[in-house]
Symmetry: C2
Subunit: 360 residues, 2 copies
DNA sequence: CTGAAAGCGCTTACAG
DNA sequence: CTGAAAGCGCTTACAG
């Protein structure tokens, strides 16, 4: 004998609902709702009625059903968070986390819950993403995060007027985002090196093109030019595997400082620090190093850092998360047209920038 | 002219519903529901109808509303995750994250979405939690995580037969959990110290009582006894601020090794390592150190570790997250009575345990 | 000031 | 095989 099919409700006194209270207090269910929601709608009830309803609610141990409340409110009180990963979650863990913290903080402050949409876990192509991105509509609106993004599904969302905002700058017009001002921050790093006396530096970036990388390169180049650094041969690209040879060559060319960028793979950075360590170079004694972006916590088992914090700037990940939530809510409320925010990055002095060694 | 009062819905055709599909496909809304839920109910529709409905759903980008689905007394394919924090999120960030990764992985593998329920942001008391915990019902079931837990709201959930599982051992009977076997792992650490030749050690734990801490202490005490360590004066409590004086005293008493525990505040551990550093003691040369639990990544700006990984054991956070998801799904399916799992912790040899310095 | 009605978006017997 | 109806528990105009 299978248990009764419908009621998954536990045996015993079922949960009281507004209609139970209404019966007990001799009023209508709608009145109960009005009393319980307080003067949210500005409605004022007769004190006596109020009292009776409140009393009955108390007696019955009434607790509103959150699901029904949300359905009736025409919003589900849930914000989506969709992360595009180039690799599997563990690797991007550290860059993902601070954003999540910010998003969660602000969501909590705004009384919103979060639906964590797991992107196409392992699918490298966009095919799996399309379906995954679609599911995002289950929320009132959605936050997107990740260097790369499947364009088609997103465009569709946009056309349908579904509210969403990117965390990170985007090229596509008409799309809201909250990003970091990489251009200014990167330029400032170049200027800092120049101020220390460097003239010939290299910017080692990754092959991977993403708005964040584009902005950093632009900042470095403009900053270098404005600060009087040499710009010829300034930028080089790597996948992280060939840095030793480059480093040797640079030394021969009289390069005294190297700037690199942080990405979700961390390839350029780890390649560079490893090469410097293998070459036995003192930092900043023999070569100054700077990093564009926040160095993510070293993965367990990684080589210890260069004996101190890397100089560069901090990306305000957490604040970006918070700002994105606020913007998304504005969008959901229908109050805002698409908007873009660029947040300033905090310079990090660190321990890896010093004056260049005297020319030999 | 105020905008139309009701629709907070974004301009344009936002979220399509079943009725929209019905209109497009020329069938009733109920038929749409039947088609979309698949043969879940065993109902078979005419292939042609099926096709038309599916097509329209696809065209419109339909996604079921999880809240409505749930209200209509069905499952919505979403699992909740609720975290109780003793302090604000940033501090527990690192202990929280590995669990989240595991939960997310397994949820994705099982085709479930994850709702992150945001707890009462700053409320230290249980009052705010009650309402927050209640919202959890929007999911099919929920995972709870955190050292401390508001008992009343949880009991309520339990009475109502709402499926949930704790991540971490719990005392309350009838509650499912997936925890770590701290007792065995802690005993093993004591045995390891004994095997190195230590006889007089101290266990420095925090004041905060939680099942995890209780279990660790029990393991240390039992392990010490079984391995022939002195047990008199073995356990001391701290809030992390007074370790220098203790350390000096211990040295005077002939203590050669100190065990401490990892918690979400990390107070005992950071107090201890700082004290050892200030005292200029070589580790493990002059004092061996062991940690019960996984050392969370050092917060940015923290003092560098003791020159290597701390000896102790690893808490299988990620695997706990995964196992908890699996158990929760069993519960939701109604297949399991409350169940408890204790996962083994992997010993970490580390670099901070060595033989005691010869007695002077 | 309060009640009756409609509706949030979906599921599920129950009739045709 | 499909449609019409009722209902999940609540909110919100709209009438009295």
């Amino acid at each position: 004998m299978p248990p009764s099919p419908k009621p998954p409700r536990a045996a015993g006194r079922a949960k009281p609902r507004q209609s139970d209270i209404a019966r007990a207090a001799g009023v209508s269910q709608a009145t109960v709702s009005l009393v319980l929601r307080g003067a949210a709608t500005g409605v004022v009830l007769a004190p006596e009625t109020r009292r009776r309803v409140l009393r009955a609610a108390e007696d019955l141990g009434y607790v509103p059903d959150p699901v029904a409340t949300r359905l009736a409110a025409a919003r589900n009180g849930m914000l989506g968070l969709y992360t595009f990963s180039t690799t599997f979650p563990t690797d991007v863990a550290h860059s993902y986390y601070p954003v999540l913290v910010g998003v969660e903080e602000e969501a909590a402050a705004q009384g919103q819950d979060l639906i964590l949409f797991t992107g196409a876990s392992r699918a490298a192509d966009d095919s799996g993403d399309a379906a995954a991105v679609r599911r995002v509509r289950a929320a009132d609106g959605c936050l997107f995060f990740g260097r790369h993004v499947p364009e088609d599904p997103i465009r569709r969302l946009s056309e349908d007027g579904f509210p969403f905002v990117y965390i990170g700058r985007r090229e596509e017009p008409g799309i809201s985002y909250v990003g970091a001002d990489y251009v200014s921050a990167s330029a400032e790093v170049a200027a800092r090196l120049a101020a220390q006396g460097h003239r010939r530096v290299r910017y080692l970036r990754e092959n991977d093109d993403a708005p964040a990388s584009t902005d950093r390169e632009r900042g470095v180049v403009e900053g270098a030019r404005d600060a009087g650094l040499e710009t010829a041969g300034l930028v080089e690209r790597t996948d992280g595997g060939d840095v030793d040879a480059r480093l040797a060559r640079w030394r021969g060319e009289g390069v005294t400082a190297v700037i690199t960028e942080e990405t979700d793979t961390g390839a350029a950075l780890s390649g560079l620090t490893a090469a410097v360590a293998r070459a036995g170079l003192a930092c900043p004694g023999e070569v100054s190093l700077a990093l564009l972006g926040t160095a993510t916590a070293a993965p367990a088992g990684a080589a210890p850092a260069l004996g101190g914090e890397i100089s560069g700037f901090d990306v305000p990940m957490r604040e970006m998360g918070r700002a994105a939530v606020r913007l998304l809510l504005d969008l959901i409320e229908g109050e805002a047209a698409p908007r873009r925010h660029l947040l300033a990055c905090e310079p990090v002095s660190g321990a890896t920038i010093g004056p260049p060694a005297p020319a030999n």
